[in-house]
Structure formats: C-alpha cells, structure tokens
C-alpha cells in the first residue's frame, strides 16, 4: 500500500467513526426532544430550555465556586489516596510478609460501594467537606495500593539482570528501569482513579456536603428545577471528559504502549 493510500484510508476511518459518534449524539438529542414533548418540563425539560439555563450558569460566579469546591475535594481526597495507598503499596510490594496482611483489607475496601462509606461519614463527620474528601480517599486509595503493589512486584527480573551486567548505577537503574516501569503501571490506574474521584465526590456532595457541584445539583432538585439539574449534569460530563484529556496525556507519556505494527 502506498503511503498516500494509507493516509486516505486512515482519514476515511476517522471520518466514519466521527460521523457515527455525531450520529448517535444527534439521535439521542432527537429522542430527548421527542420525550420532552411527551412529558412535563419537571420530568424532562426540552434541550433548548436546558441550553438556556446552561448558558446563564456559565456566566454565574456560583458555577466556578462549585467547580472549585469539587476540585478541592477531589484533589485533597486523591492526594490522600496517593499518599496512604502509595506508601502502603510500596511497603507491601517490597516486604512480602506485609502483603497477605494488607491485601484482604484492600479487597474489602475495593468491594465496598462508595455510597456505603457516605452513610458512615455522615454519622462520623456530619455534613461538611470531610465527607467528600474521605469518601474519595477511601474509594481511590485501595486502587492506588493495588497498582503500586503490582508495579513493585512486576519489575522484570530479566531487565534487572541487564542493568546489573551493564553496571548501571542506582540512579541510572531508577531512571532506566524502576521509574518508567512504575509510570507505565501506575498512570493508567491514576487516570481511572481520577475519573472515579470526580464521580464519587459529586455523589457525596449531593447528600452530605454543602459545597460543590453535587450540592448545586441537590439544590436544583429541591427546587424542582430539572432544567438546572440537567445543565449541571452537562457541566459534570464536560469536566469528567478531562479524564479523556488525561488518557491523551497517557498516550504521550507512554508512547511505546501505543506503538503498533511490527516491521521486518
């Protein structure tokens, strides 16, 4: 196949997938419009009504206050998850006797639905920011733990041999082997974890935190302003799409995982 032909086929494939995606969105909008005509605006407001509310929200300060609050909850919880999950994962990965002690706890935490934690935190902390931060930390922490244990225990021993034979210094060994391996194993986990953190934080804000996007969603619901509820959902979708940006970043940071097609 000539290089030009390959480029044309690639462009056509991209066009096809884009058109399919846009077509699905258009279909969904059409269904939404049809539904809004069948039901009252309290149940299902029309897309244009939601668009008007969304446009007005984008000009209001409370949108940015809410996004800041949720971002703070997510970051605080995520950093806690990284610190605790990462440290424990490192210890468990390096010390085999620690792993059987911590793994059952991690499994139990991974299997606990975030909403169950929220019920507990409302008892422990009342209503406040701590609910969101704690729930994010306890949901994402076990994922980080498992990811770090996996990263530490799956360093390829044959590559360790290579670094020993070629007498790489500890610094070079870290740069050439441990760090790239750690990043390659952890980055996908962190990208998924961050997306989860957003959703968990917003969920806990709906029920137990007075600030953030979730709290705004709850207020709109209490006011039976379904158009505003849906506008906030659109904003949330737009924010969670940043995990797609992180996936793109992941492809840039880990290009060798994306490289395809053997030559020779």
């Amino acid at each position: 196949m000539l290089p030009n032909q390959h480029g044309v086929f690639k462009a056509l494939a991209w066009l096809q997938s884009t058109l399919l995606g846009l077509g699905t969105l258009a279909l969904m909008l059409g269904l939404w419009q049809w539904g809004s005509q069948k039901y009252s605006p309290v149940i299902l407001p029309a897309p244009d009504r939601v668009a008007v509310v969304l446009r007005s929200l984008l000009l209001e300060r409370r949108l940015w206050d809410a996004i800041s609050a949720t971002t703070l909850h997510v970051l605080a919880g995520f950093i806690l998850a990284l610190a605790i999950g990462g440290l424990l994962g490192l210890v468990a990965g390096r010390q085999p006797w620690v792993r059987p002690a911590l793994t059952p706890i991690a499994i139990a935490l991974l299997g606990t639905p975030p909403i169950a934690w929220l019920v507990l935190t409302m008892v422990w902390f009342g209503l406040g920011n701590a609910n969101s931060i704690f729930t994010v930390a306890v949901t994402v922490g076990p994922m980080v733990f498992a990811g770090v244990v996996d990263a530490v225990t799956t360093v390829d021993p044959s590559l360790l041999d290579v670094s020993q034979v070629y007498q790489l210094s500890n610094k070079s060994r870290f740069e050439c082997l441990y760090w790239p391996h750690l990043v390659s194993r952890l980055l996908p986990v962190l990208v998924v974890g961050l997306g989860l953190a957003w959703r968990v934080s917003i969920m806990s804000e709906v029920l137990a935190t007075p600030t953030g996007i979730g709290a705004e969603l709850n207020t709109a619901r209490a006011n039976l302003d379904t158009a505003e509820v849906m506008a906030w959902i659109v904003i949330t979708i737009g924010l969670v799409l940043d995990s797609e940006i992180l996936r793109q970043l992941q492809r840039q940071v880990l290009p060798w995982q994306q490289a395809a097609g053997k030559v020779g």
């Binding site: 041999d161 070629y166 790489l168 050439c176 880990l254 060798w256 490289a259 053997k262 020779g264």
Partner: protein, 252 residues
Amino acid sequence: MAHLLNNIHHYYGSRLILEAIYLKAEPGEIVGLMGPSGCGKTTLLNIMAGLLLPTTGAVHTIPMGLAYVFQEPRLFPWYTVVENIALGLKTQDISRQQRLQQAHQLATTVGLAEAVSLYPSQLSGGMQQRVNLARAFAINPQLLLLDEPFSSLDMGTRQQLQQLVTTWIQQHQSTAILVTHDLAEAVTMADRLLVLSQSPARIVCRWRNQRPVDQRDPAYIYQTLAELQTLPDVAASFNLKSVSLSNQSLKF
C-alpha cells in the same frame, strides 16, 4: 588472558550442577560451549557475568568491560532502538548526545539504520536480537558472553549475525564465550570448543578448530561436524547413536 574460571563447583540446593570447571580464553578468541539441554551452560555464563555466585571456585575477571547477549533480547520496552543500544554507555562519562550518536552508528553497523526510532514491540525477533548485539558492542567489552543468541532466528539472519560477531571479535580483539546447541554454528564461529557432559556438567571434550574463521567453508564445516560426532565424549554427551565414518559416508 581476558577471563578465567578456576575449579568451579555449583549446587542448586543439594544437586551438583557444575563440577570442576576450568575455563581460559585469549583475546580475539571465540570459545564455544556446548552440552545437552539443562546441563548448566547458562548457569556458567551467569557465573561469569557476576549474576550468580558459584558455590565454590574462583571467577577471575579483569574489569575491562563485560557484555552479555542473552538468549532473549531483554530490551527495555520504553526505549527506542537507539536508546536501548546506548544503555550501557550511561556508565561512561560522555554526554547523552554522544551516547546517542555512537548508538546511531552501531545501529547502522547491525543493519538497523531505518529502525532507530522504533520501539521493541515494533521489531521482529531478528531485529530485536540485532539491538541486543549492538547494545553489547556499544561498551566495547573485553569479554562478550553469548547465550544461544541466534537460536530463534531464520538461517539467513543467523548467518548475518554470526558474521557480525566474528568480524567484531577479530577487529576488537575481544574474547567471546558462545553457548550454542548448534554444532555447525560452533564449528563456524568458535576457535575452541568445550563440550559439557550431562548433569553434573564437567568438561568432557576440548577441541580446537583447525582453520581460522575466514577459511571455514561449508565443506570444512560439514566434514568437521561429522568428525566431531564420532568422538565418544561428544556422542555420549548428546546421547547420539554411534556413528562411524567409512569412505566419506555416515552409518547409523
């Protein structure tokens, strides 16, 4: 004398694997190491490379650079071809640019000039093994260990890489220890051949190639192959049926 193994004994648990191994090698020499599967050839190489401590015995090395061409390429998946080749140069006091420049030249030497920016996952087995070789050449080692480096390659690629190694050893007057299952490969490349017995491995046969490397034509190689297989120790080591040469033909 680039390297010396002196009375090596090695156990795995209570099982004796290597028994009374003595090995010397000269600069510019390729020493072939053959033996049945599982007899301990790779263990011997790992001992020489410092990856394994022998149970008893002395490993005398002169720290003039050692490189190991493993049976599997063992390339770093996150590094491109040129970065993998330049790996061993990190211990040298040269800049990254110089490292990559030298690696580029070596990539050309091993026939990978067009593939320098590819990742290992994009390379065929033969190309990966070329990178493995180039990585070893990059540090200009005094001792080159090769553990069945060409066993999974097609004949054409194998011949090319064999030629690369023999030429490089001659040009740089390094020493190579070549583990191979292929007697023809051993006769083609090795100046001396050591044959190990079945476990516990002892050196049961020491053979010296009668011709220099550039005079080992196919006729000589096949004649020598046949002769080697008639040696009782070689036949016993590989459980070969008794073979005798009569009027230039083989009988089983």
